[in-house]
Symmetry: C2
């Protein structure tokens, strides 16, 4: 049953909207300190080479240059990366460079122009090595080796099997094997990486930056700088969006800002150009996929098999997770008896790849979601009915061990069918019009590193307001608003009575792993709820004492605290807080609530793939209707309907924003975006937003209907779970299937450019 | 018994010493924001006048001027001040100016020079009024009236009586009545007031400034700006010392920085010149005192009576407290059966007066401590013996209701006598050498406003360190160090494992009234101890679980957590914190301790003067030995001994620093300092540190012996209580009595300049 709430569930504008809209929010690139120097990075111009010598003498003589660092300035031999075996990256290149753009040296100067000029005066002597840009080439014996610690450039691999796929395929009436590929794209956040480093005389290294997981950055900085963690402090500025590990990791600018600060005694600021951002890591992994689905003629899926090769670029970073996640997401949202997955992440001499909204899951769903449509088409079945037939239900446990608690997947499919006019349209649209369905299921947080718990402090103020110090990292998604709503709801306050920290400060903010894996509303939301309830309980005890009413009778509502049985009498909350703080003699205290939350889910077991990796799962069914211009190949989105089981919609405006964002980001990869590379040396051909074309908010389908199917999760804060990441995944096959429905040809390789569409139409006409 | 401790009680350098010594600590005047404007204040050049008109048009036309504010820009009619009836001051003068220096208008411009130039272009039309500069003149019928809300310029008065002084004088064998005066001095902090205001588009008014009670400033800003308190945020920078309410109150620069920011949309910075600081409030109140002491020939004090007129200057500020405190401190450190006090604080057309180390208590002790010596001399008694004979003892309750808990006053006198060679020297020194004794007793925190409780949060970090967010306001006295020591002690960590907030942020820091009344170590120290113990308890519960050892067996020591019965086994604290945070499934949590402390003492009852105003009291006995050069009148401090019952010396280096500071500040008022004024218009004649002569750290007596008499207070954190404020009070009569002992003449009026000494010597020789 849906509990009646006052603040949660309401479409409240973002609490930081005014500061952002008026340009007063201090983003990474806005942050400055007096006496600050400016830094620039020298990047490799060759794809693979030994560094024989770096001569900085001439650059250091340039007036205005204050210091230069190279790989030798980070002598700890410690490398940063996701796990011990993947620590293959150093703050600056030491012995080798591995892609065009790899960081070689950094300059601090009194202004950016001088720093830039100094880069040209640094002489790097290379011994060039053969390079490899194609992952299949890279896996061959005798291929150039990027790293010594792995064979055949296999950065990471993942194998997983449940049941017996061979048996499953035998039980199937129809089995198909198809190949699909996806391209390299970028996160496309509008604010480039920006950091200010200050290594002060007490030995503390403080970094201000636009990070999405400050505590992860803090750990990796300490590791790579050879500092005890307590000597590192990361302070998060406002963040111009994130979308993945490109904001979770420290990069060359962060290490260099600090090391150059240590050398000069001044704060040092780096702001990457968009060229820096587009050339360096992290990218979305390009995927090469061979997938196989077996189904009975009644529409029961008997087996799925996937073989994946992911192009990882030059370094590991989060690679082991990247190549494992697709495996872990195969067996949701359908009941699958037999599954096999074999994935390889391969090093190539290109910018490194990492996570991006729907981390490597969108790629495999692009393949599997289309193959499901193909199998259905082959068998004359309706994908919607097949989806319902195979759907997971509350109480299910998947072969991998996922415990399905709240689940309204069937309802999602039904609502999407109904709202899109699916039954009237599927297979019945005129030529060059098409409709397609895609589904997905997603985690709500995942235990990646040891640390998974979130925490929060809520302080009640004497004017009746509450100050919240959350570990939740708002990178634009609106966690500050969600957390504020939750605290306001618990305390019976309006949203304007909540003050919340605008950023994370690892020295003082309650610890929280940060923003990734769609964990924030659930984990940090629960921590905030617990902290607010703790504060409420303390103040309720005061109320119980002064009003002489049992504790369980005390109600907090509309800035008042009163007894359930006597709502007219009671105290204004500010007066009660002041009473607690001022007037209880030795018992006087300021009310400070604290909360910490962990779902207790299992750590991902990369070996067996077994365990419940998320406290709950979300579900989505998307239907897309398109038109194709047969003259130009241009695709127009005519109608988009998504039905999303997201638990409670904590804030419908923000949920819709997440879903619009999911749409536009998926649409970008599906139709427009591609990081193009030179075939001979792998350098990026379109490293600017002039040439790398992203859709903007103006491209969001006008008819973009979001249906919230509020399954009210038993463990989520007020019933909430993930929104917006799972949704983006479902859009991939939905659009692919709609294209097939419109032109009768399957386009397996992203992006679906007008050229490819025209070529497909032409070939179909020619009967190829 | 003195408990054996590891970190508390050790002479640890200040935790912020390196940043301060290397110039990296950001003080008020160092703080800046991008795009900041600079402000200057226009001050009245007449002592008393109606403002008829302010014409800012010409000033506004000066290129670079961005905005001007006058009293009319603060239209709320709300005035700031200590109590409702004393709210007689507005951010800028509205109808009237009341002293030369009173604030009339403020300019924001692109740089300081232009702002300064613009001041000259503002035309203020005054209607001059008769002015009054002498408080006795001001009290007369027909004198010019500064404010309408009081009669005869009596800003505040305080009357207090215990027992019956007339009866006491009758019972005495000897009664004396004498008069004493003290001069106006300034706090003499080396950093002028500095603030940056930013009124952002969301309506939040944020002030960065070097304040000593940010929460008090926050309340007063909200009141005077007509804002709800939650729309005001005060962020404390490093503070270049405080010494009193001159750092507790907001002043014109604070209001104007915010209002000019509101007008311009830019941050606005004010840095006062030292001339601003010396001309404006707050000063130490000049006192005119008539005191009377009655004693039996055995040396028992039977009655003390005091009549005080304090020159308050143009505004009330904390005046009611200023005139009341001397009354509340008469009956410590001696057992007094009969006391009467009548005090008047009077408005005059001069800069306003407020609190300064030993707030108005030093002045009265200057009189009473010398009169005690005079009575003893008259009766042939030894002041040391008389002090012991009349001393308060543990368990005593004074007539005013003070509960004496820990008290080693007698031991203080004995130790001072012993260490100074008192018995060998008193009355036996050669001509122009003298020795004198002074005593005092002091509060450890006082409940001035409703709010008295302190609070603190302690977060345990995964690297085994602790982050402390204290409400304690470090203004140079070292509270950050003391609080860090207390937390380290509780958690068994070395001091370097503690990270503490460098300043207060009223939005997020746990609330604490701030630094005044010698409350910080006791209140904030206790809050920190409770918070650390709360964190310790939570982690001990984890330890108890994982080690399978009863909770009460768990010991925290040397970064380890182990069982009392098995010290070899156990966990490193970092591993245990990570276990708690990572590995306890649903129970995983980040350990956050919270603490709030209130002593439960009574609010000062200004009417009856009854109640226990402090949780505990400190005691001091000082002996000073001097030489006087009969040719020049110059006084040289030859030896100084102070024995101080301060409870536990939490950090002997900082305690000694406090006592050295007490010495130098007292010495300044006793021998050198005076804010001199023109007789005709009251303007300050020496408004610079070139002309206003303060002693420096080089003038601290070389032989300055501090004896800690550690009475181990039952309620203080690890037994601590106040240090350094009470001590300064005892020095006043000690030095006065030494001068008398050296030259045989009493100099009742401060400062004791060489001119006065020479004159006294001359008059004595001439038999006057």
């Amino acid at each position: 049953m849906k509990e009646e709430l006052s603040v949660v569930g309401k479409g409240i504008p973002k609490v930081d909207a005014i500061l952002k809209a008026t340009g007063k929010a201090v983003y990474g690139a806005d942050f400055s300190l007096p006496g600050m120097l400016h830094g620039k990075i020298l990047r490799s111009k060759v794809p693979h080479a030994k560094i024989l010598n770096i001569d900085t003498r001439k650059a250091l003589r340039l007036p205005g240059v204050r210091a230069i660092v190279t790989g030798k300035d980070f002598p700890w031999g410690l490398k940063y990366g996701f796990t011990a075996i993947t620590r293959d990256q150093t703050p600056l290149a030491q012995d080798k460079v591995r892609y065009i753009g790899d960081e070689v040296a950094a300059v601090a100067a009194v202004d950016e122009d001088i720093a830039e000029e100094a880069l040209d005066l640094i002489k790097v002597e290379y011994e060039e090595l053969p390079a490899v840009f194609d992952p299949f080439e890279a896996m061959k014996e005798g291929a150039p080796q990027l790293h010594d610690h792995v064979k055949n450039n296999i950065s990471a691999s993942q194998h997983l099997a449940f049941g017996d796929v061979e048996k499953g395929f035998l039980e199937s009436d129809h089995v198909r094997e198809d190949q699909f590929t996806t391209q390299a794209i970028k996160h496309g956040f509008l604010e480039p990486h920006a950091s200010v480093g200050l290594w002060d005389p007490s030995g503390k290294a403080t970094l201000w930056g636009n990070k999405q997981s400050p505590y992860i950055v803090y750990r990796k900085l300490a590791m790579a700088l050879g500092l005890p963690p307590s000597k590192v402090r990361v302070i998060q500025t406002y963040v111009g969006a994130g979308f993945g590990s490109a904001r979770s990791d420290p990069f060359a600018l962060d290490f260099c800002a600090l090391m150059l600060s240590k050398k000069t005694g001044k704060p040092v600021k780096f702001v990457y150009s968009m060229e820096d951002v587009l050339v360096m890591g992290e990218m979305r992994h390009p995927f090469y996929m061979k997938v196989k689905t077996g189904m009975t003629k009644e529409g029961y899926i008997k087996a799925i098999q996937a073989y994946v090769v992911a192009d990882g670029g030059a370094y590991s970073t989060i690679g082991p997770v990247s190549i494992a996640l697709p495996a872990f997401f195969i067996d949701i949202p359908y009941r699958l008896p037999n599954v096999q997955y074999d994935g390889y992440r391969v090093f190539t001499n290109k910018g490194f790849c990492g996570s991006l909204r729907g981390h490597c899951i969108a790629q495999l769903r692009w393949a599997l979601g289309q193959q499901l449509d193909m199998v259905c088409n082959d068998l004359g079945l309706d994908i919607a009915e097949v989806s319902i037939k195979n759907a997971l239900h509350p109480g299910d446990e998947t072969p991998s061990g996922y415990k399905i608690t709240s689940c309204a997947f069937t309802e999602c499919v039904e609502k999407a069918v109904e709202a899109s006019g699916w039954k009237e349209k599927k297979g019945k649209l005129p030529p060059y019009r098409g409709i397609g369905m895609g589904t997905s299921s997603f985690i709500t947080g995942v235990k990646l590193s040891g640390h998974n718990s979130a925490s929060c402090v809520v302080k009640l103020n004497e004017d009746g307001t509450a100050s919240v110090v959350t570990g939740a990292t708002d990178i634009g998604q609106g966690s500050s608003t969600i957390v504020s709503q939750i605290v306001a709801e618990v305390l019976g306050l309006p949203i304007e009575d909540i003050t919340i920290n605008a950023g994370i400060d690892t020295d003082f903010t309650p610890i929280d792993p940060g923003t990734y894996g769609s964990r924030v509303s659930f984990y940090s939301g629960n921590a905030a709820k617990i902290a607010a309830e703790d504060a409420k309980k303390q103040l309720a005890e005061v109320a119980s004492k002064v009003m002489k009413v049992p504790l369980e009778e005390i109600i907090f509502k509309d800035r008042k605290v009163f007894s359930k049985s006597n709502p007219e009498k009671g105290w204004k909350i500010d007066a009660l807080i002041r009473h607690a703080q001022h007037s209880m003699g030795k018992e006087s205290k300021s009310v400070i609530g604290r909360g910490s939350y962990d779902s207790g889910v299992d750590f991902i077991d990369f070996k067996t793939g077994r365990g419940n990796i998320s406290p709950t799962y979300t579900f989505a069914a998307d239907v897309v209707e398109i038109g194709v211009d047969p003259e130009t190949g241009k695709i127009t989105i005519l109608n988009a309907v998504g039905a999303h089981d997201i638990g409670r919609a904590l804030n419908p405006i923000l949920c819709a924003g997440q879903l619009d964002g999911a749409w536009i980001q998926a649409e970008g990869q599906l139709l427009y975006e591609e990081l193009k590379r030179d075939k001979k040396d792998g350098h990026v051909l379109n490293p600017s937003f002039m040439d790398y074309k992203m859709p903007t908010s103006m491209d969001i389908p006008l008819k973009n209907k979001h249906i919230f199917v509020e399954s009210m999760d038993p463990d989520g804060p007020f019933g909430a779970k993930e929104v917006g990441e799972g949704a983006s995944v479902a859009i991939f096959p939905a659009l692919g299937n709609a294209v097939y429905d419109a032109i009768g040809v399957r386009i397996p390789d992203l992006p679906i450019t007008p050229e490819k569409v025209l070529k497909a139409i032409k070939e179909k006409k020619e009967g190829k």
